[in-house]
Symmetry: C2
DNA sequence: AAGCATTTTGCAACCGGTTGCAAAAATATT
DNA sequence: AATATTTTTGCAACCGGTTGCAAAATGCTT
């Protein structure tokens, strides 16, 4: 069917090895030979079979991209950056959608069967032990948006969630709120736990401010909306730090519905700063998570691990900053 | 490194072929043999190498998924449905991001090098000739969201865009608008052209209603917003049919900003019905495009083509329906 | 128990490439 | 011009599987 190395070799009247070498840079081939082979290859429309060569080289240039966040708009940005970044480096993303909570173990098998060179786990809700499964299977892995543990077993790239929680608390303080709340994402997610820990530890230093907390079931508009509806039923706080932007938007929707006004009656602070949060009809004040840097760094790390699989695990954390928009009251002067 | 067929064969004390057959269903193996092999495989943690076997079987179970819409939230839904649907059938999506308008030709090479079994082109803005490139290269291809041509050369699954344009026009008529407009997506996209053609042909039958038209530069919030800002500068129409939901939301944002009210002062009709359009703080009246059905059908078609590569090309079109929400004035009684 | 049909197994070649090694060719040295 | 050195080339084995074919094993008849 397709044109193979052998066909080219025959047409060029050379050995198969010669053809192979002509397509491998750095290989030992004379200019004359290369020319001859390239001519024959062009005539026949030959393309080397990447999978066949992977068999001997042990490199497929396939990178597994595992995620379970196919309902959060920010992940479109994440996929865009990952797929572009990988293909710019000659790597191919092989996507694994873990949305329906099928056995994560199976995904490890699956990706191993396709001999991916490495795996990126892009999720803040998958457990650290999941990423570890790949490492245990000797597959280089980076946990993007993962937890910064004191003794990380896999590479983590993301933000310091504890610090992000503190930052949220400090914002509330600066703006003079008296009763605030943490409305987190799924309680089982490490990101939620860490942010809450940062938030409450910072709050502990401000005894004048009361704070409460609750959790949404998942990172989705609907979950945010439902949770805020519930909160509004009884004595809501003055400002909420929501688990992420999509939850924030759900919360805003619930607030609008009651006729309460943002930021006058209730303040909302998100986290992520997805493109949509900038939209003028959303205009969400949020903690900016530098996903471009996080993803580029993840890719660089992946590339480095291809040559150095047993690289000592590290955590690469990027600082967040507040993206000031219209859902929190202004900072008050002292 | 990894456990191979040979290792299993040695441990089980059988031939390599026996092991291979034990892992191929429908192959000629005795129950006893299978048991023995499975035991050895389990002991060693053996997983067959999908790529190696593809070499002889000619099937990789890799499906190329090509798109250039990584900035339109509906594509997150599209990717979710595609990746889940494919992997539920034991197929693996290999993503190709054409966002930065790199040479599309290259993507064909790329996917051929990885011996994908078939390709899905998921885009309404890529030209029909692009999809055809795959067919010419003997790669089964389905153009999802493609144009329904009278003599289709590749399989197309989507909606009838001409009819969708007509439907939009009829909605405007039913609601008694006197001056309406078409605010399309990129003019070069076949979907835009077809919708406009349907829209204007239907309008031609209603001489009492004036209509105008314009086009946004791309399918994005910003482009929709800018275009609507421009339109609002001089004598806007009473209702706009926008190229898609994300353009509509951009338009809504521009309208809100001027203090005009929707749907009282200006009506907006979108197309797609992405999840977000249902959000209470957006609440967009839009033409529902049944993407779940479109994508499932695309996948079924792809699967069918694996066994029948030269299948006669067909167009599978799904009817749209209006999703009534809050951005058009109600239907008027006669 | 012998003879035949059927099932199961292993051999060996193959899929489309890569690569270590030694022979051949080209170039440099004296 | 003969020899030493370096570069280029082809041979053959290999990567991890699959598969047609024939031999071996099993099951069935009589």
């Amino acid at each position: 069917m397709a044109v193979t190395l052998k066909d080219v070799a025959i047409r060029a009247g050379v050995s198969r090895s010669a053809v192979s070498r002509a397509f491998t840079d750095g290989a030992s081939v004379s200019a004359k030979m290369r020319k001859k082979v390239e001519k024959a290859a062009a005539d026949l429309g030959y393309r080397p079979n990447a999978l066949a060569s992977s068999l001997t080289t042990g490199r497929t240039k396939l990178i597994g991209l595992v995620s379970n966040n196919f309902h959060n708009p920010i992940f479109l940005e994440v996929f865009d950056l990952f797929t572009r970044g990988l293909q710019d480096r000659g790597l191919r993303p092989l996507i694994m959608n873990l949305s329906d909570d099928q056995d994560p173990e199976k995904s490890v098998d699956m990706l191993k069967q396709y001999s991916v060179d490495a795996v990126v786990v892009a999720s803040s809700t998958l457990s650290p032990s999941f990423a570890k499964t790949f490492r245990d299977a000797n597959v280089p892995v980076v946990h993007c948006f993962g937890r910064n543990s004191s003794s990380p077993e896999v590479h983590v790239v993301g933000i310091d969630n504890v610090e992000a929680g503190r930052m949220a608390a400090r914002e509330f303080v600066k703006r003079g709120y008296g009763r605030v709340a943490f409305m987190g994402g799924p309680q089982s997610a490490t990101s939620t736990q860490d942010r809450f820990s940062g938030f409450s530890s910072e709050m502990a230093g401000h005894s004048g401010i009361a704070y409460s907390y609750s959790f949404a079931e998942q990172y989705s508009f609907e979950a945010g909306r439902r949770e805020m509806q519930r909160l509004l039923e009884s004595d809501p706080a003055e400002a909420y730090f929501c688990g992420d932007d999509v939850l924030s938007i759900g919360a805003l929707s619930a607030i609008n519905e009651t006729g309460l006004r943002v930021p006058e009656d209730i303040g909302i602070l998100g986290l992520n700063d997805m493109e949509m949060s900038r939209w003028e009809n959303i205009d969400l004040t949020t903690i900016h998570q530098p996903i471009r840097q996080i993803i580029n760094s993840s890719i660089e790390l992946i590339v480095a691990m291809l040559d150095e699989p047993d690289r000592y695990p590290e955590a690469r954390l990027f600082p967040c900053r507040i993206a000031e928009r219209g859902t929190l009251r202004p900072v008050v002067d002292l």
